[in-house]
């Protein structure tokens, strides 16, 4: 039955948007060669992750893998350069035969309750998309309390039931649309001049990356993925994405 699944073109769609940026492939993250993660294959799992940098962007992590041919995972994360107050872009995709679970968000790198200008610029401007996808079947809060605590006021998350094949593409739309908006923000972003804001952004960015990294195994991918890839590759995947 699994052979019959037409997995969604997650990677292709996300790469299509990312290609608006001039990407430079990254070969090392945190002192480790990323090669083992670029393409991996065992009896249980196969796929790969890549890392890039770009102007105003410290790191882009993107990839997909398939667990036992029954779950298709997709990830796309964008970590802005330290001189820019851009949000973190996060897209998590878990596709199964009958259901797709996903999260897409622009996580603020300042306290967006207090910083009204930031909120208007990066979050409220995306609100029309947030409202558009509110009617997507299966829309719901992110189940992980920790991950939900990082999310912005415009995150979109769902557990979309696949009762017809068109739903796979419908569930993919928020990811490519949010990414398109994010890339627009990247193009317009100006370097930070205020040192206090720089420190605030750095502090929050660090906290977000740490918590996201800690939540990777168990919260974002099932523990069976961790077992299938082993500790070293899991750590490398975490470094590429967060």
């Amino acid at each position: 039955m699994a052979d019959a699944i037409q997995w969604s073109p997650y990677l292709e769609k996300m790469r299509e948007e990312l290609n608006q940026l001039t990407l430079k492939e990254t070969r090392h993250v945190e002192g480790h060669a990323i090669m083992p993660a670029q393409e991996f294959k065992t009896s249980q799992i196969h796929g790969g992750l890549s890392a890039y940098s770009a102007e105003k962007i410290e790191k882009i992590g993107i990839g997909a893998f398939y667990l036992n041919e029954t779950i298709h995972y997709g990830f796309c994360t964008i970590i802005p350069d330290q001189n820019y107050a851009l949000p973190l872009f996060i897209s998590l995709w878990q596709e199964e035969i009958k259901e797709i679970t996903f999260l897409v968000d622009l996580m603020p790198t300042v306290d967006s309750l207090i910083d009204e200008a930031y909120r208007k610029r990066y979050l409220e401007s995306v609100q029309p998309l947030w409202e558009r996808y509110a009617s997507l079947p299966g829309i719901s809060p992110v189940e992980s309390d920790v991950v939900r605590s990082l999310c912005s006021i415009i995150y979109t998350a769902a557990r979309v039931p696949i009762d017809k094949e068109g739903m796979r593409l419908a569930a993919l739309a928020p990811h490519s649309e949010y990414l398109k908006n994010y890339i627009g923000f990247v193009k317009e972003a100006n370097a930070l001049e205020n040192n206090a804001t720089k420190r605030e952004v750095e502090r929050k960015k660090k906290a977000l990356r740490r918590t996201l990294g800690e939540s990777f195994a168990g919260e974002m991918v099932r523990n069976t993925v961790a077992k299938a890839v082993g500790d070293n590759l899991l750590e490398l995947m975490r470094s590429i994405l967060f």
Binding site: E131, P141, D145, I153, A207, T211
Partner: protein, 255 residues
């Protein structure tokens, strides 16, 4: 859709105080002055459009409280706008307990939450410290019909048009529009259970030691006060009822 007559609507304050005995064992003392304002005019009011009370309290022998307000505004004998707010003094970083409970014939619009006074994405310990006991309650009560219909539960429908308000909410807010009478009663369980958790957290509260952290917390708390007092659409209703300027006492007690 069930319609509930005004006479059958929930006696918000009575149910909390007498039926659930939320403050049993705690001596509430009226707070006569709040932020330089005499609060007595709010204790019992009557205007051509509305009557009711917003009563602020402290807890006897407890210096950790800024205010505990319980209020009901009965509008044209058609609807009730009720609130319970519990806020600690600036030396403590407890979340703000906020409950808005607006009942009309067609539905009950409700939001109950422990609103974080710091950015929980930065202060992960805050999440563990204050929300561990709330998480199972959130999972239990989010299934009340009205919190989950229309797909995206909790945040979208009532707070959708106000991003500033969504910013103030925790990841455990309960929010929705509840129609059936029996479901409206279940909401009271949620309101009281969240409040009991807050009161337990209060017992264990320790004063903030780090001055920078305190400054950050107070700034966020004041911003939340400012938003709710100046931007909440409910404030417009209070302006109509009490007049521009006089309404400030009421919005300050509600949030």
């Amino acid at each position: 859709m069930a319609r509930v007559d005004y006479k059958d609507m929930i006696d918000f304050a009575k149910v909390i105080l007498e039926d659930y005995k939320l403050f049993e064992g705690i001596e509430l003392v009226p707070l006569e002055t709040y932020e330089g304002m005499n609060t007595r005019p709010a204790w019992d009011f009557k205007t051509p459009m509305a009557f009711g009370f917003y009563k602020p309290y402290l807890i006897k022998g407890n210096d950790r409280i800024e205010k505990i307000t319980i209020g009901e505004l009965h509008y044209m004998k058609r609807a009730k706008y009720c609130a319970l707010n519990m806020t600690t003094a600036d030396d403590y970083d407890l979340p703000i307990y906020a409950c808005e409970f607006d009942e009309s014939a067609g539905r009950l619009g409700v939001t109950v939450d422990l609103m974080p006074t710091v950015d929980i994405a930065v202060h992960k310990g805050y999440l563990e410290k204050y929300y561990t006991p709330i998480a199972p309650l959130w999972r239990k009560y989010r299934t009340i019909p009205g919190f989950t219909i229309e797909g995206r539960c909790l945040l979208q429908r009532r707070y959708g048009p106000w991003p500033w308000a969504r910013e103030t909410l925790s990841p455990f807010s309960l929010d929705g529009r509840v129609e059936e009478r029996e479901d409206r009663l279940k909401v009271m369980d949620a309101i009281v259970d969240y409040a009991r958790v807050w009161l337990e957290l209060l017992k264990k509260a320790e004063p903030i030691k780090d001055p920078e952290y305190k400054q950050e917390m107070v700034k966020r708390k004041k911003t939340m006060h400012k938003y709710y007092r100046e931007l909440d659409p409910g404030g417009e209703v209070l302006k109509k009822i009490f007049g521009e300027g006089k309404h400030h006492l009421f919005v300050s007690l509600v949030f």
